[in-house]
């Protein structure tokens, strides 16, 4: 099964956190060890912080058993928070409310612009306001099943449990959720569930929730409890005596490099979907904060679990710089179809009803258009592979609202989806009230991320990871409207409780910029920037990034194969070597230099991409968003291999191009028995 396994852990766990980052590790492997997809199996890793016993009271018992920090001591301690999305802003505000001093960083010009702002559809919560059979247990069950049984039960249960507090908190902050005429909150249903538990604010739920968290953060900034550093990017982690104690940041306006210190560091820096170049992420989203921590010893878990969202606007040409999501909520009322006949070039309106294939309703009669994202995406790929795709290049399927408009009337459809229809029309120039939308899957979210325990602490003491940047709750596939839930659960309710246990041992000895670890980290950053500026080659950063994206989409996208992944690894290595030889970055290190910012991020994507492919190659089963063509049921659904793969793959960095070390965390299911996911 593990055909690339080369024996016992040769690196040893003792080396974790002691990785030296030499320049020789940046390019291709200097040792000539080019065994494609090679890795080393290391010691297993275990989550030890979650109490056992009844799952309903684990979180309560953990909060009770964890140490507290008295208010006077909180005032003496500083926490660095990197990123100001839902997780980072809510954590920053809450930690400050508790009395900690917070230093917050974001690369945007204001914390309010973090990419959580773009989340459209909604946020799940087990309020059961509908009396439709929902409960904390059902949200827990749906999430474990939706994740294809590759997440931790304890974490997911806690997520479902605190989901109800998030809605209360947001309403108290003035988040203008959609309401019914009686003045109570409205909900809608979302993919992968049969209850209506998604709270929403038209198509701008992420924006409204983020503004709530942002305003709470600004309130703490005004109170002097948070020091906000916008237009600053974290470029390295500083570890002192085995603890995460600070970061190296670059002021993006002046170019100045500084070292910043704290008693603990929290990464809330988001996901790595931009490794595909084209994704629904914002252009600036990047893996650098996570990857730098990984290089310093934090394990990276399940990097191959990426979510390809089924409803995005198809690509219009080679100039495309990003893809735009159309909220999954559209699948509540829109019907997905393609022509029955391959190569049918007629306009959609000219294709009679009986010559249309509403394939989701046909294949999955009980969930219909509301199947989970991974299933809807792959089904779209399959019909396009059969030559039945629509629009330019045959890479699209119809999402048709004609029936909904007939049933509900145009004003009702406008009220529900108006802004999404407007956005579609602005981008494509087509009117979706008249002709069906064309949609196609696009990279949207990454379930993988830095490994964390139940306390959300990584394998580096004092380094906590929250939101999309960690791997913890979504398994191999995230359900719709669960990202906002997880980001806010981590930031408002989980981390502010669990971090106390760690900080109870603080304050830690004071560190300053003269400390050898700080000097070393800072020098590494400066050398790397200098190196990027001095190559002066003949290819732009974007041209490399696009090429990397093509490789990843082709071989590590919706369908993966052994041969394809091996080829991808080879191509990525070649591209990485070429990058450090031929990239051209104009301008200087001083002052605002957007090309230099991108250059550093792409350099890290070029390393991450290889790990993603190794992870995808080693996991020979299919699960959730990870579909290996070799492992499918007779009717083409994902075929898990629980006997061999019911574990979290946590990878240890040993050098770019060097075989990483795999640490397995076994997943145990005491409550939800793994079955083949069926939405039929």
């Amino acid at each position: 099964m593990l055909d690339n396994q080369t024996g016992d852990n040769q690196m040893g766990n003792d080396q974790m956190g002691n990785d030296q980052m030499g320049n020789d590790q940046m390019g291709n492997d200097p040792m000539g060890n080019d065994q494609i997809g090679n890795y080393i199996v290391g010691e297993p890793i275990a989550e030890t912080k979650a109490p056992d016993g009844p799952i309903e009271t684990r979180w309560e018992r953990r909060r009770f058993s964890g140490k507290l920090v008295n208010p006077a001591n909180k005032r003496k301690m500083t926490v660095i928070v990197v990123g100001t999305g839902l997780a980072g802003a809510s954590a920053g505000a809450t930690l400050a409310e508790l009395g900690y001093h917070v230093k917050s960083y974001c690369y945007q010009d204001s914390p309010r612009r973090a990419h959580s702002i773009a989340a459209q559809g909604g946020i799940n919560a087990a309020k059961n306001y509908r009396n439709d059979g929902d409960s904390v247990y059902r949200l827990f069950y749906d999430t474990v099943k939706g994740g294809d049984f590759r997440s931790r039960e304890s974490n997911v249960y806690r997520l479902a449990e605190v989901s109800v507090n998030i809605i209360d908190q947001a309403v108290a902050q003035g988040v203008p959720f959609a309401r019914e005429y009686g003045g109570l909150l409205d909900t809608r249903s979302f993919g992968g569930t049969q209850v209506s538990r998604t709270f929403y604010a038209r198509g701008q739920t992420g924006q409204q929730l983020l503004l709530g968290a942002y305003q709470a953060l600004e309130r703490q900034i005004a109170a002097g409890n948070v020091e906000m550093n916008a237009r600053h990017e974290m470029l390295e982690l500083i570890i002192v005596d085995g603890r995460a104690r600070g970061i190296v940041v670059r002021d993006l306006v002046t170019g100045e490099i500084t070292t910043e210190f704290a008693d603990a560091v929290v990464l809330a820096s988001g996901g790595y979907g931009n490794v595909f170049f084209l994704s629904t992420n914002a252009k600036g989203c990047n893996v650098t904060a996570s990857w730098r921590a990984h290089r310093k010893g934090a394990l990276f878990a399940n990097p191959c679990y990426t979510q390809i969202h089924p409803t995005c606007i198809p690509q219009s040409g080679d100039h495309q710089s990003k893809l735009t999501l159309m909220s999954e909520s559209l699948r509540n009322d829109g019907r997905v179809w393609v022509p029955k006949k391959a190569g049918d070039k007629r306009a959609p309106g000219d294709i009679p009803e009986d010559e249309r294939d509403y394939y989701l309703e046909r294949i999955y009669p009980s969930f219909g258009n509301l199947v989970p994202r991974d299933i809807a995406s792959r089904a779209a790929k399959n019909v396009c592979d059969e030559g039945r795709g629509v629009g330019p290049g045959g890479l699209g399927v119809y999402l048709d609202f004609a029936d909904a408009i007939k049933r509900l009337g145009r004003p009702a459809v406008e009220a529900k989806y108006g802004n999404l229809f407007d956005m579609y029309q602005r981008i494509t120039g087509e009117d979706p009230y008249e002709v069906p939308m064309r949609i196609y899957p696009a990279v949207h979210y990454t379930m993988g991320g830095l490994w964390v325990d139940y306390d959300l602490q990584s394998t580096i003491p004092g380094l906590f990871v929250i939101g999309e940047a960690n791997f913890s709750d979504h398994g191999a596939n995230r359900l719709g409207a669960s990202a906002l839930m997880q980001g806010l659960a981590d930031g408002y309710f989980v981390l502010p409780n669990t971090i106390n246990e760690y900080l109870a041992a603080g304050p830690f000895p004071k560190v300053d910029g003269q400390h050898p670890a700080a000097v070393e980290a800072r020098t590494q950053v400066e050398d790397r920037l200098q190196r990027l500026l001095s190559i002066n080659g003949d290819r732009t950063v974007d041209s490399f990034h696009r090429e990397l994206g093509h490789i990843m989409w082709e071989y590590c996208g919706m369908e993966r194969t052994d041969a394809g992944l091996r080829k991808a690894i080879e191509l990525i290595r070649g591209l990485r070597e070429e990058y450090w030889r031929r990239v051209k970055v104009s301008g200087a290190g001083e002052g605002l230099n957007q090309a230099l910012e991108r250059a550093g991020r792409v350099a890290d994507f070029l390393e991450l991409a290889e790990l993603m492919c190794i992870d995808a190659l080693h996991r020979t089963e299919s699960c959730g968003g990870h579909f290996r063509a070799e492992s499918q049921t007779p009717d083409g659904e994902a075929q898990r291999d629980d006997e061999n793969f019911s574990y979290v793959a946590a990878w240890e960095f040993t050098g770019a191009g060097q075989p990483p070390v795999l640490h397995k965390e076994d997943l145990n299911f005491e409550y939800v028995h793994p079955t083949q996911r069926s939405y039929k």
């Binding site: 108290a172 003035g174 604010a201 942002y214 305003q215 709470a216 306006v253 914002a282 956005m423 309710f493």
Partner: protein, 248 residues
């Protein structure tokens, strides 16, 4: 299509700045405006020149980062559309397009088309929030909100803080931005306890940050990509007068 671009280039806050002309060819009508600038920048980098610096991030009209005055209008010719959502099909072959940064005293230029909008954060810090520390909230259904109030609050809350209102205003006023937040929070029951201090403190912070006064011209709402209505400013004025009278 082929276009002539005249772009504001300014190396640093101290630099005087000037318009520089560039030719771009083979522009596809399906490109977004920013993708057209990406193409120009790729070329400039290969020619060893510094690319044009501009703010952008989500490219789907919601983060509020993009900020360009195109042919004299913030975010360009299309109504209710941010620069990133503007597509080249709204221009024609042979056009000359002027591209400038937001120009306002409260938004100093950092470089080329990038400006400093942190003054907006200062206004929010002064009171653009409801004080509800984490954990203190009652059940979400304990206070029903009439749907019309909730909808009107949402409409005001849609502001993306891009600053087009300020760039469009002859006075460089940030009143539409301030009023949108006053309206959003002031319409909700949860926002009532701080309603009066909020309006006084936010308007004071607005004035301190160097924004001009509002003289009800209405350019702000006309150029707002989210269509924040001018009535929000009326609402702010009403709240302000009431609160100021009480305080005096």
């Amino acid at each position: 299509m082929n276009l002539t671009l005249r772009i504001w280039r300014q190396r640093s806050p101290q630099d005087k700045g000037r318009m520089v002309t560039y030719q771009v060819s083979d522009v596809s009508p399906d490109m977004s405006f920013l993708e057209m600038l990406d193409v120009l920048n790729e070329r400039l980098i290969l020619e060893g020149e510094e690319p044009v610096a501009f703010d952008h991030d989500c490219r789907e009209g919601i983060c509020g980062m993009c900020s360009m005055v195109i042919n004299g209008r913030p975010h360009g010719p299309q109504k209710l559309t941010t620069t990133c959502q503007l597509h080249m099909r709204h221009f024609k072959d042979g056009d000359t397009i002027d591209i400038e940064p937001w120009r306002a005293r409260a938004f100093p230029v950092i470089k080329d088309l990038v400006v400093n909008r942190s003054a907006f954060d200062k206004i929010i810090q002064a009171g653009g929030y409801i004080s509800a520390p984490t954990g203190s909230a009652p059940d979400a259904h304990s206070t029903p909100v009439p749907k019309p109030d909730a909808d009107a609050a949402f409409e005001a809350a849609e502001c993306i803080a891009c600053g087009a209102c300020v760039a469009a205003c002859p006075n460089g006023s940030g009143m539409l931005f301030t009023a949108a937040k006053i309206t959003h929070l002031g319409l909700l029951p949860q926002g009532q306890p701080e309603r009066e201090t909020r309006v006084l403190d936010m308007v004071a912070a607005h004035d301190d940050a160097g924004f001009g006064g509002c003289t009800n011209i209405g350019e702000c709402t006309a150029s707002c990509p989210k269509g924040i209505p001018l009535t929000t400013i009326g609402r702010l004025n009403g709240d302000f007068i009431k609160a100021a009278r009480k305080r005096s």
